[in-house]
Structures are given as C-alpha cells and as structure tokens.
C-alpha cells in the first residue's frame, strides 16, 4: 500500500513537471496554469461539487475495467457498454411514466441491463465460439457507436432539434440536485461499496481474483472458470452501462451525439494506473476528474487549450506505470543485493 502511494505521488509530480516543461516550451506560464487548473476543480464548494459529479462516469467505467482485468477477462468494451446503457435509460425515461421514487431505480436498472446485454454479447461469443473478447469488445464498441447514433437520428429523434438527439426524458427520472451537489455521486458510492464488498469479502469475488491471478490453479481448485467468466463480463458491463445511465440522468437528461465523450477510455486508463485496485481506481478517478473539471477554468484564465489535459493524462499514466515497474525492480535488486551480502559474510 505504502509503495503504491509513494509511486503514485511521485508519478503524478513527475507528470506535472513534464507537463510544465511542455508548457514552457510553448511559452505558457506553468505555475499560473496549474493554479487556475486546481482553483477551478478543488478549491471551493462549487468546484469540488463539480469535480465529484464529473468523476462518476470515470470511476464507474474505471471500476468496470479494474474488476474485469483483475479477474481475467480483457473487457475493453466499456465505451460501447456505456452507450448502450445510456440508450436504455433514455428510452425508458421517454416512455415510462412512474413516480420519481420508482422511475429512478427502474432507469438505473435499465442502464445496467443495457450494459450487461452488450458485454453479454462478447461473453457469449467467447463461450460458444471461443472468440477473443479483447477484439470482439473493441469491434462491438464501434458497432454500438454507430447503432446509438442511428437510434438518436431516426427512431428517438427529437423533431424540434437541429442535430441528432432525443427529447428530454421524463422529469421524474432526473436525479435530484441539492444546491450544487448532484445525487449521481450517491449512486456511484453505493455501487463502489457493493463492488468492493463482493470483490474483497465474498466467495464470488475471491474466485474472480484467484482466476485473474492464476486460472490454472483456480480450475484445479474446483472453480468454475467459464461460469465466472460470464458473470464477470456481465457485472463489468452493467457497471459501464450504469455510468452511461447516470450521465443521461444527471446531466443533459437526454441522449445527444457524443454523449459518451472519452469517459470510458479514461476509465480504462484509470484502471491501468491503479493497477486494477479498487481504491486506487477511486482515487485516480477523482484526480483525473479534477484535471478535466479544472481544464475549463484553465482555458478561461490562461491561453492553454483544454485538450492539453488529455496529453497530461496519458503522460501521467505512462510515468506512473513505468515508474512502478522500475521501482519494483529497484527494490527487488536492493533486496537481492542485501541477501548476497549476508551470504558472503
């Protein structure tokens, strides 16, 4: 844990330094830029609330990727699962007329169902035809992208709009907002606790983790690998779908083009930096969200364009991941050297 924390903080600092260097080369003032960046994302109630709100899709897709990678399946289909989940929630919100206390849970479940359905396709292709989910989920992402684009352009198109989007969903399906605090954070925290519990405390989670570590050992120990594989795919798909549903219910309350943005890929990156740890995913998700939230203010105050954050994120990931491996080698080497010295004496 301590080693992780140290390598994470060092990595972030080095990445910020590299970012500062890039800014210096282009003639920007890095101190002013970082000040603006974090002023608009961390300091104050409104910035903090916005950062929390924006972190929800990042953390949920990150959790989806973390759980999948740690349990074995290389589910890279979060972008598609998120879109299908968002579409399910939107369609439910357009046609169902229920009171708020019923409609909100129903829409949440619908979005999870949508995501699980889409990851289920990949899981079935693997189970029946032994097709590698690594490539099928990627292809399904593109297919989901075009499918949802079609859905919002024709069957669910808002006739009063000029660009592809659906009408707004039933107001009963909007997630409540208290002041600046959006309740999508509560749903995310709940989902995090459930997943954390299942993954770390229940037998099912133990089986997933063991399978991810060493599937041969798991199989010899009597774990049903195939069944667990499908479960993990469905659960991680549902998580990504939930992210999409919450984006619709918390934000624009409709499905518009480009809704998925880069959330899911950022989520995958977050899982990768967190080394598939759940708490790490939560923390890095908040950090990435702070960067993205602050980028708007940064663009406003300084001349640095918002897209710079995307570069900074990728640099952070590379530095932390490489640093972690390097740090491990360094520590192992010193341990080995110590042992050698002990033997020599």
């Amino acid at each position: 844990m301590q080693r992780k924390l140290i390598s994470g903080i060092i990595g972030i600092l080095i990445a910020l330094l590299i970012g500062a260097l890039i800014m210096l080369v282009q003639g920007y003032n890095p101190i002013q830029t970082y000040a603006a960046l974090f002023n608009f994302s961390l300091f104050g109630f409104y910035p903090l609330a916005t950062t929390l709100r924006n972190s929800v899709p990042l953390i949920l897709t990150g959790l989806s990727a973390s759980v999948a990678f740690a349990s074995g399946p290389v589910n890279l289909g979060q972008p598609g699962q998120l879109l299908i989940g968002a579409l399910f929630a939107t369609v439910g919100g357009l046609y169902l007329d229920l009171p708020a206390f019923l409609l909100i849970p129903v829409l949440i479940l619908l979005s999870m169902l949508g995501g699980a359905l889409w990851s289920g396709v990949a899981a079935m292709l693997r189970k029946w035809f032994n097709m590698d989910e690594f490539i099928t989920t990627l292809m399904l992402n593109m297919i989901a992208d075009f499918f949802t684009y079609w859905a919002i352009s024709y069957p669910f198109f808002d006739r009063s709009a000029y660009s592809p989007m659906t009408p707004q969903i039933n107001t009963n399906g909007w997630l409540p907002i208290w002041g600046e605090f959006n309740s999508n954070v509560i749903v995310m925290v709940l989902a995090f606790f459930v997943i954390y519990l299942v993954f770390n405390r229940l037998t099912a989670g133990y089986e997933w983790r063991i399978t991810g570590h060493n599937s041969l050992f798991a199989r010899l120990g009597g774990i049903k690998i195939d069944k667990n594989y499908v479960t993990v795919m469905l659960v991680t798909g549902a998580l990504a779908g939930l992210a999409g549903g919450l984006v619709v219910m918390a934000g624009p309350h409709r499905f518009l083009k480009g809704l998925g943005a880069n959330y899911a890929w950022d989520g995958v990156m977050i899982a990768v930096v967190a080394n598939n740890g759940l708490i790490g995913t939560l923390l890095y998700g908040l950090f990435f969200s702070a960067l993205q939230t602050g980028s708007l203010g940064m663009e406003l105050i300084t001349a640095v364009p918002r897209e710079f954050i995307q570069v900074l994120q990728a640099v952070t990931v590379l530095v932390i991941v490489a640093g972690r491996g390097y740090l491990d080698i360094l520590i192992d080497k010193t341990i080995a050297r110590q042992k050698a010295r002990e033997r020599a004496t």
């Binding site: 032994n130 490539i135 593109m142 684009y149 079609w150 990156m269 995307q310 080698i329």
Partner: protein, 296 residues
C-alpha cells in the same frame, strides 16, 4: 462495368491503410511484442503528414513527416516497453490515448481549428499513371492511376514476406518471438531485434497514416484512424502474421468498406458504417472455428 471497377478501386484504397499497419504489426508479432499501438501510430502519422504537406508545400515532406511522427510514437513504445519493461498492453493503451490527445491538442494549437483541418494548401499524394498498363481494356483503370502509396504497399508486402522468411534478420525476428532466451544465448540480443521490429512498425504505420490523410482524403480530422489499427491487429492475429494472408484479409476488409458505401442507397449510413467491424467479427468467428478443428 464502372460499378465493378469502382468497387475494386474502393476495395484497394480501403485496404491500404489496414494492410500497411498490419504489415507493421506482423513484424512485432513475429518478434513477440504484444503491440496494440498501431492505432496511435497511424493517427500520429496522419497528423504529421498533413502538417508536413501543408508547411513544406510538398507531399514528399508530408510522407517524411508522417514517418518521423509515427517513429516518435514507436520510440516512446520502445522506451517504455523494451527499456523500462513496462507492460506492453498498458503501454499500448496509454500510447493510443496519448496520440488521440496530442493530435487533437496540436491541431488546435497549430491550425487553430477543432474537429477537422482541411485546407487547399495541403498537397495530396499524387496518383501514378503508368503509360502502357493504362491501355489494357478493363484492368487498365485498376492497375494504373492508383495512389503512389498503393504501389509502395504492394512492394512492402513482397519485401516483408521476403525479409521475414528468407533473410537472416527474419530468422532472428522469428526466433525472438519463438524462443527469446535461446536467441539471447546464441549471442543475438532479442531486445535489439524487438527494437528493430518496432521501428519497422513505426515506419509502416506512418505510411498508413500518410495514406489516410493525404491519399484517402486530403484533411485531418480528430480520431480519423477510427479503429483501423484495431482491425489491422485482428488481421494479424487471424492469419498468424503471414504477410500474404494479411494482404488477402485486408482486401476483404477493404471490400466491406466499399460495399458499405454501395449499400448506403438502401439503408441508413450508420448501418453501412458498421459493415467492416461486423466483417471483422465474422472473420474471427471462422478463425476460431478453424482453430478448434485444428486442435481436435
């Protein structure tokens, strides 16, 4: 007749970027590098091609810049995956996202536009007219008048097959993937072979990117590689890296690309755009069925 030549020409130009990237991928495949960064390399190549072509007023400089840009990505991959021994999968994912962010950022910084940059100042790569071949009745329109990169691609296919299977470097390349320790113990550094395979991959992905932004169309748009790098990865896996097989598979994907355009008269364009990706899934299906038969 025109429809058929149009379809064939569409197939060829749709196949070219996938084929080039997949050939790059096959070098790393044989060297035992799990390289999924083709998408990012191609995208970077496409951006630098437009940059070079626009500022130097020359398509040749466009190609050179594309290769340099893509090589930079390859060097980052080498630095992390080979030198620092970072996980290859992680490096590839981060690199793809880095390429997406960096090209979008640079497009905004350098050209001051969002979304797409097109300008009459971008010089496209010319089509080559071969005097004698053009006179052949039906094949003339296919054999002659194609983009320069397409002719280069044909050469690259032949060269790749030759290098991988007939030269000493190719033997070492395959050994690096097949059994790296025994290659190392025979006095050849497998890390060095991997580095070379990644450099070759960088060059070929740069060419693929240059074809995308200076041949296929004459503009750069955000994320314009649109999953072609992933399809090329699928192509490499499907035929176990054989360059001739890759050429065939890429043509098949190119055909679905052209077919999608043709089908646009009958159904919404969103569905026709799905065709190449669905085709990849179908191809994977047949591959896995065959693999199962081989095992049994």
């Amino acid at each position: 007749m025109n429809i058929i030549t149009g379809l064939i020409n569409g197939m060829i130009s749709g196949a070219t970027p996938i084929l080039l990237a997949a050939l790059g991928g096959t070098f790393t495949f044989y060297a035992g590098v799990f390289n999924i960064a083709m998408e990012g390399m191609m995208l970077t190549g496409a951006f630098f091609a437009v940059l070079g072509s626009y500022y130097f007023d020359s398509w040749l400089m466009g190609i050179v810049c594309a290769i340099i840009g893509s090589l930079m990505m390859a060097l980052i991959f080498i630095l992390f995956a080979v030198t620092l021994k970072t996980d290859e999968f992680v490096t590839g994912i981060a690199l793809n996202l880095f390429a997406l962010g960096a090209t979008t950022y640079m497009m905004r910084q350098i050209f001051n536009v969002k979304g797409a940059f097109s300008n009459p100042g971008i010089v496209p790569i010319p089509r080559i007219h071969i005097p004698l071949l053009a006179k052949i009745p039906i094949l003339g329109n296919i054999l002659s008048g194609q983009n320069l990169i397409i002719y280069i691609t044909v050469l690259v296919v032949i060269l790749s097959a030759f290098i991988i299977f007939k030269t000493r470097f190719g033997l070492r390349l395959r050994a690096a993937g097949y059994n790296a320790p025994s290659l190392d113990s025979s006095g050849v550094s497998s890390a060095k072979i991997r580095i070379w395979s990644l450099i070759i991959c960088g060059v070929l992905c740069g060419l693929a990117g240059a074809f995308l932004s200076l041949g296929y169309v004459t503009l750069f748009s955000e994320n314009m590689s649109a999953g072609r790098g992933w399809i090329s990865l699928a192509a490499v896996i499907l035929v176990n890296g054989n360059p001739w097989g890759i050429a065939l598979i890429s043509l098949l994907f190119g055909f679905t690309d052209g077919l999608g355009l043709l089908l646009q008269q009958y159904m919404p364009s969103q569905f026709t755009s799905m065709v190449p990706y669905v085709a990849t899934l179908i191809a994977l299906y047949f591959y896995s069925i065959q693999a199962r038969k081989r095992k049994a």
